[in-house]
């Protein structure tokens, strides 16, 4: 009995690992192709096999992508755009997360008449196709004097990020027992005191979720990046697009791939380093 059970469990283990490894290959394949392509020289790409390892590894495409490639009228590589992206992403992520935290707090612990309707209206707002808002937003930005500025970009990302950050925090705070809040109220703690003393200390995981989600969204966003930026504020996705999607020019696929890998490095790193918190945060209740 135990023996057959053992065999059965060993077999099922083997099955599980096999399937996990096969899926892992499917997930890793595109990354693998990108990495090996970025390390080949252009002749090898043109004449060789997509999946074959580079005969001779070269880092020249990486250097070119980072600081030498011609993007527009400058040979700056994607470096300055990378910096623009950081300047834009950090404040936008923080502001939208903080607003989301307070909103989520109110929606979960200080409900009032109509607050649920308000919340669902906000959620529906997640589904507005961005193509719809390009022109009215430009007009509004022109009116506010934010056209083309970093401030403008941050503003747009905050505005269209709030719905999701609010959703994350609300669903997280809902899972925190109301008894705690009520006890604090009886003790005379006010709105902000309850937030800072009771909720904030346990919010690290959900902040991680929110920050990583927002960072991914904002860092990789392209349409807002081209429309609401100007020459000095274009984010890295715009540069990447300019490099990769130029129409009537000779393509350097290795440089394209190196540029892509550099452009996604921050989000990729964020996932690897903080993935643990991300998972913990989601488990702690972002999904309920």
């Amino acid at each position: 009995m135990t023996k057959t059970n053992n065999i059965q469990s060993i077999l099922s283990r083997i099955l599980i690992y096999t399937l996990l490894i096969i899926s892992a290959i499917y997930f890793l394949l595109p990354l693998f192709v990108m990495i090996i392509t970025s390390l080949k020289d252009i002749d090898e790409i043109k004449n060789g096999n997509l999946l074959s390892l580079p005969k001779e590894i070269t880092f020249a495409p990486w250097i070119e992508a980072w600081s030498e490639a011609r993007i527009g009228s400058e040979t700056s590589g994607i470096k300055p755009f990378f910096i623009n992206s950081i300047i834009m992403t950090v404040p936008a992520v923080l502001i939208s997360s903080i607003i989301g935290a307070f909103n989520g707090y109110v929606f979960s612990k200080w409900r009032f008449k109509g607050s649920e309707v308000f919340f669902s209206l906000l959620l529906f707002g997640c589904f507005i196709p961005f193509q719809v808002i390009l022109l009215p937003m430009s007009q509004t930005m022109g009116y506010l004097g934010l056209s083309g500025s970093v401030g403008g970009l941050i503003f747009v990302h905050v505005v269209y990020g709030i719905a999701f950050t609010t959703l994350f925090f609300r669903n997280f705070y809902v899972s925190i027992p109301n008894e705690l809040i009520n006890a604090a109220r009886i003790d005379g703690a006010g709105f902000f005191r309850i937030f800072f003393k009771i909720l904030l200390p346990v919010s690290l995981p959900i902040f991680m979720v929110c920050i990583i989600w927002q960072m991914t969204q904002i860092w990789n966003e392209f349409l807002f990046g081209i429309i609401f930026s100007d020459a000095d504020t274009q984010p890295v996705t715009v540069a990447l697009n300019n490099l990769v999607n130029a129409t009537s020019t000779v393509k350097k696929y290795n440089v394209d791939m190196a540029a892509t890998l550099i452009a996604v490095a921050p989000t990729l790193l964020a996932y690897i380093i903080s993935g643990k918190y991300f998972v913990k945060g989601l488990m702690a209740g972002a999904v309920k």
């Binding site: 996990l20 809902v174 006010g190 991914t216 892509t260 989000t267 996932y271």
Partner: protein
Amino acid sequence: MKSKLNFLEHYLPKIVLAPTFLIMIIFIYGFIAWNFILSLTNSKLLPIYTFSGFKQYYALFDSGKWWLAMENLFIFSSLFISFCLAIGLLLAIFIDQKIKFEGFFRTIYLYPMALSFIATGTVWQWMLNPGLGLEKLLIDLGFSNFTFDWLVDSEMAIYTIIIAAVWQSCGFVMILLLAGLRGVNYEVVNAAKIDGASMPLIYWKIIIPQLGPVFFSSIIILLHIAIKTFDLVIAMTKGGPGFSTILPSMFMYDYSFARNKLAFGASSGMMMLFFVMIFVVPYLYIELRKKN
């Protein structure tokens, strides 16, 4: 003094929400209203406000291309969501079997979320192209009868987009479901085990039903991704072969900005929102009732 404080305390929650409320009214619903007004005009290159009634909508309903885009969106979103959920669930269950290197596998499944499609699409295009990628590889390996040419087949190209989209998002669903699985009540599960129920049956009858809310959240997030899918198609097929893989978001962008038919584009934006509403509003309604 104290009553004044109470007064403030009473209104504080609403004051805190006020900026968000204002933003929502202007930047979501205000802009939708603006877009609706635009759809009733004759605007071409830029917005002008001479009204022409529902003309654009009639033209839209007459456009075979628009209905193809809607049909594609329907195929795309239903298959994309189903596959993400199915594969995500399977992976989550496997990972939940106390396996070694859990963090390693999790990260691998999740990382595509971090990538943007601007250049990743190029890689997918290569891999799925019969002359460059998988088909060529397998033929080179000696499987001379192997064909995989969906990317260049008008009928099948939309499915290749699903393959790449599932690749990007199903890891995220896996994480959501994994989190759900860890929150399952195991007393019932153990009781069922003692009664001799098999594991698949336990998953099917006891565990998965408990994941209801997680499935709902996942569906909302996936639907949101599906409707906004744009870069991916541009990078992989540019809507082709022909315009067989066009989606409503591309349709709208193309007509509004490339073809200078702003009012027409706006009408397609309205229709898109309308269809989203049909699917999303009932869900929100259900969610609301449950929470109360």
